[in-house]
Point group: C2
Chain length 705, copies 2
């Protein structure tokens, strides 16, 4: 048993990104030694030197990001759309990786001190007694096998090799929160059934298909003798899980910029956001709940069931937690007058959203999943309570965090191809993986689309299916899951292969999205709101489809949400005194915000954030949804429904009656009418205040059909 003391300070720069303080602690150790000044002057100097070099390493990343931003601008400026910014960031990362690998040589003046002691395990903390003074050492991780004595050879490269957990704890949460927060909930919830099918069933199917195919390939490779190490069935399943997560970043940015069909967008977005979460829970279930104690690494039926129940437990727990913190934030922002101080409000919003992640991790749930649903809840409830200033601030803050994290991840991916030390590129495995990924995606999309089309009135066309097949990019989540553990041969091979899959899909599929869309003759340049309203005018039967999609469980939920949750959690919606039974009078009174009484007419009005509210056209209300566009500028659509009608219940008869009305009424019902932002009549900051109860349709300019 040997204890090797290296004098070098090899700390990964990624960790450094946020761990500068940690490194400075090293500096401290030197300055602490004043009373016996000379004995660790050397340590001090070294620590200082290391601190400087760490700063320099971080600078590399900052410069990389700066360069990416400038090039993105150039691309946008010249309207060059072939290569997306994420692909660009990867290319820059690649270049810097090449330079670091082959161009830079850092002189190594470190010497090894080899010591022997009897250590039985690897504890998390070591306490070393040096002439009466105790120094604390923290476990940093395992160093590659057999590399004990040659680690320092690649000091520089190790320095720029990322700590994978940074993804899960620093970079991914803002991305996922932003995805939830900027979700176009109306389109999302209209297609919720299909999205859930693709995200849950599809990902599981894809995981098992890929796992089985890979197991076939690996078995064949073992026979042929192409395999350099162990590769168990659980490894195959794990690989299937990690490469099944499609990326919400790249394609959707393109789709959003091009304004493709809203349903296609909703399907792809919803699937890719949710299947990230599914992939995380799935892969950790596979790892954690394979039969422990034996080395069979087979995936037994009991273990499968156990994994499944764990999966459900973790997923629903994370979901509940995310929603709970969102609801709490909504309550806090509703019942305090915090909106008078937008800085406080923004800070509270930020802290509560972040605490969701921590809380989930502290409870053993998945922080990323919790943060996603927290984001959706915040957007649905809390956002209505925020002051207009805070709405902008929170939106912009998370947009910026999302942008930085995203570009950092992609440029880092490029860097990794050359800076990572233990690549295992196995041509057969790579070919197998590409085939498996292709087939896995196909086994997800086509059968599920067929089944879904049996139930859907608004069919998912075959051109949509092909685009969904094509647009299954693998991105940040796949990368993060695969770099999380690169200790074994199997994992290293997986990581290298995953990296190639990510590169291929981002560059080829990402770059080919435009031609693909035109080849499939899918219309672009569709305004999401205009689209639905005009289609409602043109085609009455489409409205019936929409009606069909909002089936009874959703309908019950909408009513419940509109009549009880929205009034309880926000300033909008009808007053609780009107919706709750009389016995709850005093409680309802104290829970209802003063503004809500002005919305009394909204009673029983459906929430058209979720569905096209075709059954019920009682009065007007104001609501807000957030949308992002690819240029990065934020737009907040303030949507007001000014509609006619006498306040019928949300019954099906209502719909039948409506169908006899004039075309103008049909146009108003069935969708929400949109007020353009630059409407000179509308003051820009009256979001949470309900519009004055003016006679509906009094101002024709308010209707954009």
């Amino acid at each position: 048993m040997g204890l090797t003391v290296r004098r070098s300070l090899d700390v990964k720069p990624s960790r450094l990104l946020l761990l500068l303080p940690f490194l400075l602690t090293l500096l401290l150790v030197g300055s602490q030694g004043e009373s016996n000044a000379m004995d660790n002057v050397a340590t001090e100097r070294m620590a200082e030197e290391s601190h400087r070099q760490d700063s320099a390493n971080l600078l590399i990343f900052i410069m990389l990001l700066t360069l990416t931003i400038l090039t993105i601008w150039l691309f946008k400026h010249r309207r060059f759309r072939f290569l997306h910014e994420t692909g660009l960031a990867m290319i820059y990362g690649l270049l810097v990786g090449v330079i670091l690998r082959f161009g830079v040589h850092v002189p190594q003046s470190m010497s090894d001190v080899i010591l022997s002691c009897a250590v039985n395990a690897s504890p998390a903390t070591l306490l070393v007694n040096v002439s009466g003074r105790f120094y604390e050492y923290t476990l940093k991780g395992e160093v590659g096998r057999g590399k004990g004595h040659q680690v320092q050879d690649d000091e520089m490269l190790r320095k720029v090799t990322f700590d994978p957990e940074v993804f899960f704890n620093i970079l991914l949460p803002p991305i996922i929160f932003h995805a939830g927060y900027s979700l176009k909930r109306r389109h999302f919830f209209r297609n919720i059934g299909s999205i859930l099918a693709y995200a849950f069933m599809g990902t599981v199917i894809s995981c098992f298909v890929i796992g089985l195919i890979m197991y076939g390939f690996v078995s064949f490779m073992k026979i042929v003798g192409q395999l350099g190490g162990d590769f168990y069935f659980t490894d195959c399943l794990f690989f299937g899980a990690i490469v099944s997560a499609t990326d919400p970043v790249t394609v959707l940015a393109i789709f959003n910029e091009l304004k493709v069909d809203v349903d296609l967008y909703a399907l792809l977005f919803g699937e890719s956001v949710l299947n990230d979460a599914v992939a995380i829970v799935l892969s950790s279930s596979i790892v954690a709940y394979q039969p422990a104690g034996d080395n069979s690494h087979s995936f037994e039926a009991m273990a499968l069931l156990k994994s499944f129940s764990i999966f459900l437990g973790v997923f629903s727990g994370s979901f509940a937690l995310g929603v709970a913190t969102g609801v709490m934030t909504a309550l806090v922002t509703k019942f305090t007058k915090l909106r008078d101080f937008s800085l406080l409000e923004t800070a509270l919003f930020f802290l509560m959203s972040w605490s969701t992640f921590l809380l989930a991790e502290a409870c053993g749930f998945t922080g990323v999943v919790a943060v996603l649903f927290c984001g959706i809840t915040q957007a649905h409830y809390t956002f209505n309570n925020l002051s207009p200033d805070s709405q902008d601030r929170t939106k912009q803050l998370f947009e910026l965090l999302n942008f930085l994290a995203e570009n950092f991840i992609f440029s880092y991916m490029g860097l990794t191809l050359f800076s990572f030390q233990s690549h295992v590129f196995n041509p057969m495995f790579i070919i197998g993986a590409f085939v498996a990924v292709f087939l896995g995606r196909a086994a997800n999309i086509y059968p599920l689309s067929f089944l879904l089309n049996l139930g859907r009135k608004n069919k998912i066309g075959s051109n949509f299916q092909h685009v969904m097949m094509f647009a299954g990019l693998r991105g940040a989540m796949t990368f993060a899951l695969s770099i999380r553990d690169t200790a074994t041969y199997a994992r290293q091979m997986m990581f290298s292969t995953t990296l190639l899959i990510v590169f291929f899909t981002v560059w080829i599929c990402g770059g080919g999205t435009m031609p693909m869309l035109s080849f499939m003759s899918i219309p672009v340049g569709v305004d999401s709101d205009q689209d639905t309203s005009s289609s409602a005018v043109l085609d009455g039967s489409q409205r019936r489809n929409a009606k069909h999609e909002s089936a009874w469980p959703f309908r019950i939920w909408y009513n419940f949400d509109h009549n009880y949750l929205k009034p309880l959690l926000t300033h909008s919606g009808p007053p609780l005194t009107a919706t709750l039974p009389a016995c709850c009078g005093p409680l309802a009174k104290c829970l209802t915000s003063p503004q809500a009484y002005e919305n009394e007419g909204q009673l029983h009005d459906d929430d058209s954030d979720f569905i096209l509210n075709d059954a019920n056209v009682s009065s007007m209300y104001a609501d807000v949804t957030v949308s992002t566009d690819a240029s990065g500028s934020h737009t907040i659509n303030r949507k007001h429904l000014y509609s006619t009608g006498t306040g019928g219940g949300p019954s099906d008869e209502g719909l039948d009656h409506e169908l006899t009305l004039a075309e103008h009424d049909v146009a108003i019902r069935g969708t929400r009418l949109v007020l353009p932002m630059d409407d000179p009549v509308e003051p820009p900051s009256t979001v949470t205040l309900p519009p004055p109860p003016s006679p509906p349709c009094s101002d024709p300019r308010r209707h954009r059909l």
Copy 2:
């Protein structure tokens, strides 16, 4: 020589704040061991448990901040001003500290493994070989002396004890950058001479006065036998340096909210911002350049000179670096059309500002000082190039970061009083320190004010001096400098005493500011712009004072800045083709932005961001300054000068001629006229576009006198 292996995972939560990834690495170590699954299941479980507990610890801080925010809101809502939010955050921190100290008991199931090996020094990285697998350990720092075997007793408390370097690397930079970025440059530069005197000379005087007094006290204590350890003269000087830094946070927030006299505000703000930087450089010079190698710990003349030159070198280097990155950002934002994409622009701005800090640290300068001047440069040049949207975004982003960091620091200070393990409260030392701090502050303010008043026409009144004396709060910087090193007895005593000084000044002096101001009959509720213009109207001689203050070196700088730097770096100012000599024609042409040609009339116009431009009243221009108000909401004053006159040069005769003009003209000259934000005529986003060259004074509503 003993090697103690602790199985506990005691990582300080402060570091955790951003080092979660690091801790998760520990988790990884477990999951890596799949192929030999059983051997570190224990480690895995422990790491997981530790990760959960760390998340929970972080949650404590988040909850603390959330609570603080809600209470701040309550205070603002009820207009309760006696206790400022920072004092409040400290109280909450104290309470949580008490609970953690006395209320919570975490069961310790960890066992010590004591090993012996021959380690000669404390290297930064240890490599431990456990049955063929190498684990890397990083040096975390020294553990208190003699505590080797009892460290785990206070596991929980150690966990919530902050890593002091987090201040310097994560929390302080945004605070300092925000200070520079939101600086009211006009008032700042009008008083620059006095501010520099207070900040540099005053801090040095204060440092030596406190150091000498403390040395007297300590010598006396040594005789009386009250001293429990070594306390050298350099320690006294170090103490003097760290408690000489006044805090820009607390008092200024109050002052800003109350709208006290602008000159008083500028003096206090400028002093406290700059003396933070001075204190950092001073204290590190004292530590690093005391005579090394001997144990005399006296502060020799040569060492003093050396310290001084190092001080100057580091300070000017940091200054130059900060300005350089600011200028670079200005050039990038000017010569690209990045302003079309505000997200990119904001991201670039953020990255460049952050890289200033890293660059300075990488070069061995002081990051905090560099960031301050970077902030000032960004506000002066880059801000003019940003799109209105980015101006808001950057402003709000740094405001939020500043707010969170500030409250985190203050609530942490409260927590430390109970969670810190090695407090040394020595009553005599504490009394001595309070006396020394009081006398040191007096030796700074009164003699310097006397000397400055000899030169100033606009005297610093004795009531101002008393308020400056009283408002010398010690805050975040003092705390950060003192917690940076708490290894020796002297440092521990310093830290405990400093904590009490901070508590006392924040609660008593901070809370007493209001009564103090009214007692000193200093007017509050003064609009900074209104104030100067009305005083210009009322008192012609005051304008002469202002004139006098802008002495020739500043005058030269203003002209240079206005004629060359502003046109070169921003879209505003006169075109370079007009200001540069003819030989530079082509160069000037390519450097001048198209907008600048519209500003040709501005030639030789003084930049009234810096001074009251009383000599020259040629044409109008637009400029923007950023101001914060205490409520946290941002206001961007768009200031337009529409003034009369025929374009005289910046000569002294101009002033004499002016004095003969009518009172109305005097009112317009000598200050800038302010357009209120809500002026319905003014579009809200025309900042960098110069206003149309309409006849001056054509619209009387534009003047608010």
